[in-house]
Symmetry: none
Subunit: 343 residues, 2 copies
């Protein structure tokens, strides 16, 4: 068994995506992210009979996936707390026995699942936890770094901060601008091949990790940094706060899912308004970058049809006085958001 | 050897305070803090012949201290770098042999001192590092808990948040109010005998740790929670943010050192104004407790003489429209601060 550090080398691709018994799409963002942003590396999906969510990829058993060329099974779902439940263990064992390595990015380690480490050793397979932060992260200094930085921030978790950052980095590059997507979560790290799992960093070093993630760069180079959590989430704001300070963004983009009424995993907590999130981000972000500004708003309008989404985006562009777009739908609205970020 | 988790059970009190070969009082802050705030738990002090500092407590060997009822020897000094020097090891061994557990809060772990872990195991003694957070900290939920809570917040690090919380808890108790000091750093944990080292918690669990630290309590019971870092510190705001959300304080007290011009460890960063810190704390704190309010301001005026301090406190009480006091100086100003917190 080897615990591979995500930045140290390539993960064993292509993947079989494991969905467990996931019941809500919000908890399957790793699987969806890999399907959408690393489609060439996804052979199919595997899930338990109780699962209520699918990526739409072919259903394959681990043996079928291995025969089709898969080299690892990725745990493509999370649950609150990041624990690997006992109900998944038989499937993980099945993957090892089929000749696949296991890749996970949850809080609990693959090696802590009873029996799994022994089985992996015996079978010559690897258990790879991509949430292991790099060693020797320094304490933050607040020193201003060279280069341009954009950070995506959210009214909640799991509503498009990674997608927005990936889409913006892709759009910047399409315009010939030097840009890097900087991954801060397990899925982003799996897609990008490097990054720092910001929510697994000890709190005292959170801003220091963000400083390490986007080092000094050429003056016209953009780091497009994947946001985490929300300053308004009662569980995860510490992560968002350290990432904001350490990223010292020049521009931030607010990510929001219209129609979402309650924070994920926080019963009774409504979402902040976009204006409230902009106010808080400016207030706190000015501490490490006095020039911070809001570049616009990215909507996750996946629950709306195209006409509804178009009308809402047009109306909210007017209402907020800022570019609003759905990065996944693209189009002229998204082009205006890109222009605003680069202005 | 057992690594006792501080929140999981009380530390083995009373203590023998170990001063090593400390030459400057500034490095013996832990011992002085224990002497001043947990006098009933301090049996005496033990030191090497070269030591130049004393707490004024009785000198006892570990064997004498054990006979007098001590249950552990606490390393009450730090040195630059937080390393346990070789010259202390014989004394640590002597304590284990005398039947005392060892308690430390330095950067280097007791278990990393060559031979110490083996000796502890053989003797059935415990090596307790209070910087180790408890296992299985849950993710925060934001659920409103019963009881009253006060949190000290700072314009910077290391300017009196612990002392202010200790003084307020003591004043509350003196008025017959049920109150607990809730410790969030190593010295506080040794004083209280339990607590959670908030800066050593993984960021995703920071708010959850704060929720765990001050559980449901009787409606008229106060938890007085030791603050950490500062929302305006470019390195440590993540800790402050999670602690604020998870503590869901009803009242906060701003701690400030008049005359300090630059944030500790962050060259070029000036301190926020008291008004700015109040604004940010209210904005963010309302998320988990809409009733949050500022109880007043605690000054660390140790660099001023009594007359200067008195004039400044009177002037700033007027200027800010809030009670201002130095908890260490006490007096009527401090009484007004206590009244304001309880109002």
């Amino acid at each position: 068994m080897t615990l591979l550090r995500p930045a140290a080398g390539a993960l064993p691709q292509p993947y079989l995506l494991f969905l467990g018994d996931v019941a809500q799409p919000g908890y399957a963002k790793t699987a969806f992210g890999l399907r959408d942003w690393a489609p060439d590396q996804c052979i199919g999906e595997y899930r338990l009979p109780d699962a209520k969510v699918t990526t739409g990829l072919a259903y394959l058993t681990p043996a079928q996936a291995a025969a089709a060329g898969a080299r690892s099974m990725v745990i493509g779902v999370a649950n609150s707390g990041g624990v690997i439940p006992a109900s998944w263990v038989a499937s993980l064992m099945e993957a090892l026995q089929a000749g696949l390595d296991l890749v996970a990015g949850m809080h609990s380690r693959l090696g802590d699942v009873p029996g799994l480490a022994e089985a992996a050793t015996q079978l010559g397979r690897r258990l790879i936890d991509v949430r292991v932060p790099p060693a020797n992260i320094p304490v933050g200094t607040g020193r201003k770094r060279t280069g341009q930085r954009l950070l995506t921030v959210g009214t909640d978790c799991a509503l498009g901060k990674k997608y927005t950052a990936l889409a913006l980095a892709r759009a910047f590059k399409a315009r010939g601008i030097a840009a890097d997507f900087r991954a801060t979560g397990q899925t982003g790290i799996m897609i990008a091949g490097s990054g720092i799992p910001m929510d697994a960093v000890v709190a005292d070093f959170e801003a220091g990790a963000a400083e390490m993630l986007s080092p000094d760069a050429a003056p016209d180079h953009w780091d497009v940094i994947e946001g985490q959590g929300s300053l308004f989430h009662p569980a995860y704001a510490a992560v968002s706060m350290g990432l904001l300070h350490g990223s010292q963004p020049d521009v931030f983009v607010v990510c929001h899912e219209p129609g979402r009424s309650e924070m994920l995993g926080a019963p009774g907590y409504g979402l902040p308004s976009i204006a409230e999130l902009i106010e808080a981000t400016l207030l706190l972000g000015r501490r490490t970058n006095p020039r911070i500004r809001c570049g616009g708003v990215a909507y996750n309008s996946s629950r709306l049809d195209a006409d509804e989404a178009g009308r809402l985006i047009a109306a909210d562009t007017e209402r907020l006085g800022l570019p609003v777009a759905d990065p996944i739908r693209g189009g002229p609205a998204f082009e205006r958001l890109v222009e605003s970020c680069l202005a």
